[in-house]
């Protein structure tokens, strides 16, 4: 605004009071100062590294790691490279973050809806949950789950037997694993076909409803297709799936799948903690939809459940998604607290590598790049989802 005035009467304003000139001068000074600071830091770092004979660069990533990692999703042995160890760490971070996000979202939605329930008891319980968990540091929740709960679980010898041949002890949760034999491709094909058919049915049903107003039970058909087709394939191919049950070995249970207590604690703590924030976001989102909307769909004769699904939730989502994104990012970043309980996430493995190789700067750069990329990717995805959900105005 003020710039217009100045452009009209340049003679009146001395150069020093010209906002534009001042802006440029200020910025030039800032850049100079910043460049000086960066130069100073780089110079010092180079000098310090030279003095203590530390090599720089990322060549160390090809070196043999030499240590073992217990939780790994990709092939890794102590003979693998440091780079691969980092990949294992990144994968572990992503897994715990993804699992945490899914659980926290479900739990958060349930509790958020619970806070608005017309059931007094449920409402109060949900409130207590939210107020307890969001006012306690996440690290404390993680440590509590790990050390507090670990101490209570029995040792391997006295494992708690759970249904379906699974066990719980202080080495984690053991459950049977399916071993896919010959012909499993057919089951997968059946599943994919089921998904594709359901999608097609849903499309047709919507088109038919638009055209004729008749409705079709899409949900049940889809369930039948997605569950039924693989099941059919399973029997047709002669039941090729065998189950590997966990069994007691000398020290630990062997066989089956083992979810380690480190993962369990981190995953549960992150989910429970984040769920309390998501619950508040959900509550604010639903409350943010004007009451008139509910009254309107009731007046139109839409059933309450359909009204929620078709009218209230889509509008609430618009309010919910942006803050939900930052909760997802927080959860991902909080997964770096894994280091306190020994879950080998990116930060923990990076720290070990740093210790073996002494490449502090390089490792911290890797941390920054990976976490920033995860953040940016999550933001991009949520922005896309947000745009999809946004109000389509004509």
């Amino acid at each position: 605004m003020s710039q217009h005035v100045i452009r009209d009467e340049p003679a009146r304003v001395p150069l020093i009071y010209n906002p534009r000139v001042r802006g440029i001068v200020f910025q030039v000074l800032l850049v100079a100062l910043l460049a000086l600071g960066v130069w100073w830091i780089v110079d010092n770092t180079v000098e310090n590294l030279r003095r203590s004979n530390i090599s720089t660069g990322f060549a160390f990533l090809r070196g043999r790691a030499g240590f073992d990692i217990s939780d790994r999703l990709i092939e890794y042995t102590s003979d693998s490279s440091f780079g691969r160890a980092l990949l294992v760490g990144i994968a572990n971070t992503l897994v715990v973050a993804a699992a945490g996000i899914v659980t926290a979202t479900i739990l958060g939605f349930l509790i958020g809806v619970g806070r608005l329930s017309n059931n007094w008891l449920i409402r109060k319980l949900a409130t207590v949950y939210v107020e307890v968990f969001r006012n306690i540091p996440p690290l404390l929740v993680i440590l509590f789950w790990y050390q507090g709960v670990l101490a209570v679980l029995p040792s391997v010898r006295d494992s708690l037997s759970l249904p379906f041949g699974s066990y719980l002890n202080n080495r984690g949760f053991y459950f049977p694993r399916f071993v896919w034999g010959e012909g499993t491709g057919l089951i997968l094909a059946g599943f994919l076909a089921g998904v594709a058919l359901s999608w097609y049915v849903a499309r047709r049903a919507r088109a038919r409803q638009m055209a004729t107003g008749e409705r079709f039970p899409v949900l049940w058909t889809s369930v039948a297709l997605i569950v039924g087709l693989p099941l059919l394939a399973f029997f047709v191919s002669g039941m090729p799936v065998s189950v590997d049950y966990p069994q007691k070995g000398t020290f630990n249970l062997t066989g089956g799948t083992n979810i380690k207590p480190e993962f369990l604690s981190l995953y549960l703590a992150l989910s429970f903690y984040t769920a309390s924030f998501i619950a508040e976001i959900v509550r604010a989102g639903i409350m943010g939809v004007p009451r008139g909307q509910t009254e309107a769909f009731s007046a139109l004769g839409i059933r309450s459940r359909d009204g929620m699904r078709l009218v209230v939730i889509p509008q609430a989502l618009r309010i919910i998604i942006p803050p939900l994104t930052s909760q997802y990012l927080n959860l991902t970043k909080n997964s770096s607290l894994a280091v306190a309980i020994g879950y080998p996430d990116l930060y923990a493995i990076g720290g070990t590598i740093l210790n073996q190789t002494g490449q502090a700067i390089e490792v911290v750069v890797i941390f920054m790049v990976v976490y920033l990329s995860i953040s940016i990717l999550t933001s991009l995805f949520m922005n896309w989802f947000n745009a999809k959900m946004a109000l389509k105005e004509r």
Binding site: I41, N44, N118, N119, I122, G148, N334, M368
Partner: protein, 386 residues
């Protein structure tokens, strides 16, 4: 005037009758709030079952079965673990907390100097409480003392080395003291810094804007532990040899920078909510940039985002626990150290007892802050928003 008796009009009040039985009393309340639909009834029953299962257990563990006095771990061990309690006993081991209470509060701060910490705490409370109660006058003076003078008083009292006070190095500090020092400094530094960053992000100067955006987004994108790691172990690599910073100071810088990025985003939200007319109005009055921001925009914007600011404070207060990852001992760090590094109180119940104690303290602070912000928000709501 002749009086007609209009029998169809009552002239006297009927006595009030009680509400219908179905609409009043406990029964109605129950029906309305707990058993309105079959689903609700089921939910209520499930919730009641869970409560009936959990609450007595929790109370027993926390209070009735808990051990309150003892000299060492044998007090909290069952016979099979080498103690005297009956087998299968489980309960809180409170003597662990009482015997280590001093450490939880002050860390390894020298015993005979702890009055200095308490005095600092007393001054802090004496300045903070009147600041928080709107009815008490002299707000300006109070704020100046709290934000301007108190840091110096606290610094000299806690660190010492002057006025005959013994020098206490920060590596001896610990417990709640460190938690509060980091939070106070973080709060006091991050607010102005966050405002500057938010203004920078909305600035018309491209370079200022770019730098602010890069800073804010980078800091927000990485976990605090990496920032703390850099601050605590890599800072010396960036400065000339021989130049050292106090370890606590480095954690303070890390936390404050981290919080200011979050604060900047909150403040930016407030700035965006201020109608354009306010900016134009200020311009037309001939106010300069800082006058415009300081007198017109910021007071309105900050008021709008008080909940967000307090949430950031709460988040930062909770994040102070992360300094334990860089081997500093805040409240949680000291508790954890006493749980795992010391066999005197090594029992299966120690960890839970210690963490529940720490959780209770953190919860009181955070919950207090959030309640205060809600109350403040209501008070400040001057009706501009519909």
């Amino acid at each position: 005037m002749q009086e007609h008796s209009m029998s169809f009009v009552r002239t006297e009040m009927t006595p009030a009758t009680a509400a219908p039985r179905s609409q009043a009393g406990i029964g109605a309340w129950l029906r309305k709030n707990l058993f309105s639909t079959p689903l609700n009834s089921a939910l209520t029953l499930v919730a009641l079952l869970i409560l009936a299962w959990a609450v007595p257990r929790m109370l027993n563990w926390l209070f009735f079965d808990a051990i309150w006095v003892g000299a060492d771990r044998t007090a909290c061990l069952t016979t099979e673990q080498g103690g005297e309690l009956p087998a299968g006993w489980s309960g809180a081991c409170w003597p662990f907390v009482t015997s280590r209470f001093g450490q939880f509060m002050f860390g390894r701060y020298p015993l005979d100097e702890r009055w200095r910490v308490m005095l600092t705490g007393a001054i802090f409370v004496a300045l903070l409480v009147p600041l928080m109660i709107p009815r008490i006058p002299w707000k300006r003076l109070n704020a100046a003392l709290f934000f301007g003078a108190f840091p110096f008083i606290a610094y000299f009292l806690l660190v010492g080395g002057v006025f005959g006070l013994r020098y206490v190095e920060t590596s001896l500090w610990g417990g709640l003291l460190v938690t509060l020092v980091i939070s106070y400094v973080g709060i006091v530094v991050s607010l102005p810094l966050g405002i500057l960053l938010a203004l920078g992000r909305r600035s018309h100067m491209p370079i200022v804007k770019l730098l602010s955006v890069v800073f804010i987004e980078t800091v927000r994108g990485v976990p605090l532990v990496t920032v703390l790691f850099m601050a605590s172990f890599m800072l010396p690599l960036f400065v000339p040899p021989g130049m050292t910073f106090d370890k606590l100071l480095r954690a303070l810088i890390g936390v404050a920078l981290f919080a200011s990025a979050y604060m900047a985003e909150v403040v930016r939200g407030g700035l965006q909510a201020i109608p354009r007319g306010q900016y134009e109005g200020a311009d037309s009055l001939g106010l300069g940039y800082w006058q415009k921001m300081g007198l017109i925009i910021m007071p309105q914007a900050l008021k709008l985002v008080i909940p967000g600011i307090v949430n950031t404070f709460i988040g930062m207060f909770k994040d102070t626990t992360l300094v334990l990852i860089i081997s500093m001992f805040d409240l949680l760090g000291v508790v954890k150290q006493n749980i795992s590094g010391d066999p005197t109180w090594a029992t299966p119940q120690t960890a839970k007892t210690g963490y529940i104690f720490a959780a209770a303290i953190f919860w009181i602070f955070c919950f207090g802050m959030s309640r205060y912000s809600i109350w403040m928000e209501r008070r400040l709501d001057t009706g501009h928003r519909r």
